[in-house]
């Protein structure tokens, strides 16, 4: 189990990179403080006694629908493109990747 108390600034930066959120050094320190406090609270989840795991289906059931076309191709394209910041030749335009 991960130890929240041992969390460091470099961990916060790693989480932020994973979540694709830019954080300043100042915010990272604040986040570290907040997350350490929260994680020390949720540590009880790691420590709580649990009975031996028995995997059952319980009252769960599959939710399926008819295998039919509900949206004809292109029916919503224009409405969806209208929300996008940049569109070109029927594609969403994005920044260069490399």
């Amino acid at each position: 189990m991960y130890n929240g108390g041992a969390m460091e600034l470099s961990d916060i930066k790693a989480f932020a990179r994973t979540a694709r959120i830019e954080v300043s050094d100042e915010e990272a320190s604040q986040l570290l403080q907040d997350l350490v406090a929260t994680v020390s609270y949720i540590e009880q989840v790691a420590k709580a006694p649990l009975p031996e795991e028995v995997v059952t289906v319980g009252d769960r059931y599959n939710a399926t629908r008819e295998d039919t076309v509900t949206n004809p191709s292109g029916a919503c394209t224009d409405a969806l493109f209208a929300q996008a910041p940049a569109v070109q030749d029927g594609y969403l335009k994005v920044k260069k990747i490399l």
């Binding site: 991960y2 959120i21 907040d34 997350l35 929300q83």
Partner: protein
Amino acid sequence: MIDLKNISIETAHAALKAGEYSVRELCQAYLDVIKEKNPDINAYLEIFDDVMTQADTAQKRFADGTATLLTGIPIAIKDNMLWKGKHASAASKILEGYVSTYTATALENLLKESPVFLGRTNMDEFAMGSSTQTSAYGITRNPLDRERVPGGSSGGSAAAVSMGGALAALGSETCGSIRQPAGYNGLVGFKPTYGSVSRSGLIAMGNSLDQIGPLTRTVRDTEILHHALSSCDPLDATTIPMDKRVPTPRTPTMKIAVPSDVMKGEGLDKEVFDAFLVSLDRFRTLGYEIVPMDFTYIQYSLAVYYVIMPAEVSTNLERLDGIRYGYHAPEARDLADFYSKTRSQGFGREARRRILLGTYVLSNNGEYYRRALRLRDEIAKELDHMFESVDFFVTPPAPTLPFKLGEKMTDPLAMYYSDVFSAPANLSGCPAIALPTGFTAEGLPTSVQLTAPRFEDDKLFSIGKEFERVLQ
């Protein structure tokens, strides 16, 4: 003059039917209140520009005899519910300018009856918060004491009703976001059995927990709205088919369970505890026996919630990247930089905090998350077991009275603790209702919360109505 203080869906319906006033006049009465109070209270982020067109549509149904209970009823909707052609932002900058391309099923269900949706209400950003102070569009004040919070995250919806700016409102819950603000505004707030109301078109926070429910002045209004909202929806596979919504058979016991530590007032504001004891006496007056109980797992609910919710939050909010809709960073080097800048500038502090917490709990092979899921099952089982010997489970909806604006904002854990009594119902899928119980000497509203077994939503309405009667 229409008496907006003592109005209900049924009395408004009767008056509209009898022609005592028109739908336009009813809507105008609310718009006048909104114009006077909203600039300071900020319950609404937007008043829809077609309120009177909606009113005319409703009026026609009174003329042609097809009007039903909700026809022409002015309702406020939370800013995380999609209505085609209207803005919806979940009070976040990252959805600034977003226009809904379809309508939430729950709203569609109401629209069949031609109500009037007055506008969209303020909330904590992406429903993350218990005080409506994390909105990107300013805080909402509590109409009953403007220096205090209205609760959250459906604080705008609660304030809209309590300031007299809507007959009823729709809110949504992931963990108490209807019940707690209802309690803070002297209103009825209801979280239905998970799977009874469609989440299609509700901007997701924690999919396995989210439900839409009403905030109203009376239990009957909540009952009417809930029955209209509820459906099995092919667009939300977690909605439960009507024929499967069958409660486990049980014999009524006339008993209500209360956690022993709550019975001793542990962790509660004194005023909250005092009011709670009075409420317990009222249930006794109704013939119920109050049974203190100790639990093995229920006390882990909030901690379990603060693992499951951020895990779902961090995955849900991944889709907001500025490419397809909403806010996008004006300057960026490349695609990766564009994502990071868009998300950093678009999400507020609490959203960023929870996304990172979710990223953390899902790391290490998701060990935390898996344990939380197992505990969640145990909590649900423990509640099930408890309901073999009692009819309801009672606590206050929140441990404190409405707190001061600005309070708890620098201490996330203190804010999270507001949800402590909400979590069991959301984790187990059980329905729960917050009922107003009166006011403290200071004039702040108090409330009591009842939880029932899954699919026994109607029993909460029955006991809620009985409770209202003894209160009067």
